[in-house]
Symmetry: C2
Subunit: 340 residues, 2 copies
DNA sequence: ACTTGCCATGTTAACGATAACATAAGCAAA
DNA sequence: TTTGCTTATGTTATCGTTAACATGGCAAGT
């Protein structure tokens, strides 16, 4: 074979198999009508030539890319990774290819990503959260494809929503601690507006405390997201310094919750004897640490599964007759464990 | 505006701006020569029409997609997530778009992914590990694009490599424990061949033990990957049952290491007093738990950075005059901490 | 035998951008 | 003034596939 001849195309395959290029094209589709005999011949020819189907051309001509754009704040966050994982699983048989991007919790970066992704002509786009720049909203609204906002319940959704109220979820945990007779409860994290969901959780904490007639001023900063274990430990140290009488600490995530827990242990403070601790997210670690961590399971996987299913359904109908925007609620569950 | 008129193309923008489509095309490139005045006019027209550049067409005509295919075993693994994160950062200014896929530690799934990705005509492809199906190897070799195998040192590389020896890394840890006078050392995990790197770590454990003249039969299965905290705890329980005299346990990852640690704590076994524990991967948790976990830092981020840089360099030259395949070594470092 | 209709296949043109080449204008050097 | 070179722009054809339409053959229905 002459080396470095160009990459073979359908035309080459067609010639070798003695059919027209169109038939080759059909042979590479699932449902197209091609006789078994011809199909075999074509695949043999393709294999022999080392032909690899070119989606690039297919995408252009058919005006379908098979891309699903998905934007999450951070790859390195098990919750979002779970969501994306479940979405992938759900979409396994729908030949959609996920185009994954992450914003580092920055809506300007999100704007850049959305713009970049829309150039690839995805068939739908999934974003995390409901807070976006004006330009992002405009781009998404005009893209003419289904949009799904996840992990949140925006007041004014762009299109579809699969999410839950972060504020209400934390409210459940406050109720739980109060029911156990604790009143001096603090919150760690959620101080940076850029972490929209963390911010909402803190809001939910304050609201729930007030609803119980309790003061909600034991608030400790966790710093800019991602709030990790180390920051949680530091925050707990601050908490103990400023409010030594604190009876419970609710953390913006299990990671900071675990950090807070270890800080208590380093200081010989008993958990939950002296202080109760709550986290958020049902990360693996919350089920494995000692004591296990009371947390809120937001069902990250379910969000991904439901989003995948929704996208799949939406794309099944032609754009013309798609149902009205949906608002799918996921219901976070308080998981009471050893830490309080 | 007439609703649902088709998505505008460059032709529409060109007409509105009073120039030719070619000029519009140039105005959307960075380095093309277009007068400032014209460029402004064109961008204004594009904005007014809500025009969004169509990469799909551009890709076909220019035979460049700007895609970099990256395949990792699992999204939900902080090490690989770090690698991908660092790669993204490194490639920020190179307008390459990462096409991310994960195999769930299954080389058949890898084959499917490689095939799927190659259809998208990526400009380079990064895979994790050096073990692939025959067809995968063939596909990668014939793809005519740079290939990088990472996180491993394959004996017979397909093309470029950015990695390290998992076996040798674990050897360092064995040496460390032996130097501390421990001889009855066990290994947790790495029993499943599908987790190539885990398997290599176990091999490295056995080899290093033998090199010290010690028996290397204290091997506990961790089960199929991903080996998480829970499996580590179970494995430690098994270890203590079968070899109650064990002095140290080296775990295939920090996650199982942490699980092992908590299991000891649940049983009142002092770490490192009664048993030393070592992990792998320098996950956040290893620095935060109590006691902190001795581990091996494989520099996941550095792997990503170096890979990104390599790809960038390779793609800078035309295919014709690319340097010979490179083999970039990363040197894992033993991080001695509280657990032994 | 003659529609009717389906199935397998072929022909033609187009998806939307841009490579490659062409040209006009401007300006510096000779 | 002429030549040469750069800069800004236009023209034409094409990237590889497939939508849309066309066709021939063969089976079933009347």
């Amino acid at each position: 074979m002459t080396r470095s001849a160009k990459t073979p195309t359908m035309i080459d395959v067609a010639q070798r198999a003695g059919v027209s290029p169109m038939t080759v094209s059909r042979a590479f589709k699932r449902d197209a009508s091609v006789s078994d005999d011809t199909r075999r011949k074509i695949h043999a020819a393709a294999e022999a030539l080392g032909y690899v189907f070119d989606s690039t051309a297919s995408n252009l001509r058919s005006q379908k890319t098979g891309f699903l754009a998905v934007i999450i704040p951070s790859l390195n966050n098990a919750n979002f990774a779970d969501t994306v994982g479940a979405m992938t699983t759900q979409l396994r048989d729908s030949d959609l290819q996920i185009l994954l991007g992450y914003t580092d919790y920055d809506i300007e970066e999100e704007e850049r990503l959305v713009e970049q992704f829309l150039r690839r002509r995805p068939e739908a786009i999934v974003v995390t959260g409901g807070k976006h720049t004006g330009r992002t909203r405009r781009l998404l609204q005009n893209a003419g494809i289904p949009v799904v906002e996840t992990w949140d319940l925006p007041e004014d959704p762009i299109d579809n929503v699969v999410g839950f109220s972060n504020a209400a979820a934390v409210g459940q945990m406050v109720d739980h601690f109060v029911a156990r007779g604790l009143t001096r409860i603090g919150f760690i994290g959620g101080d940076e507006a850029s972490d929209t969901r963390g911010f909402d959780r803190r809001r939910g904490f304050v609201a729930a405390m007030r609803a119980h007639g309790l003061t909600a001023d034991r608030l400790i900063a966790g710093g800019p997201p991602p709030v990790m274990m180390r920051e949680g430990a530091q925050a707990m140290a601050d908490m103990l310094t400023r409010w030594p009488d604190v009876q419970a600490a609710i953390c913006v995530s299990d990671l900071s919750g675990f950090g807070a827990l270890t800080e208590c242990q380093r200081r010989g403070i008993a958990v939950p004897g002296d202080i109760s601790i709550g986290g958020f997210g049902a990360y693996d670690i919350s089920a494995q640490c000692l004591p296990t961590l009371t947390t809120i399971d937001a069902f990250s996987s379910e969000i991904g599964r439901a989003t995948g299913q929704l996208v799949d359904e939406l794309l099944r109908n032609p754009a013309r007759d798609r149902p009205a925007p949906q608002r799918i609620m996921v219901h976070p569950r308080l998981v009471v464990r050893g830490s309080g």
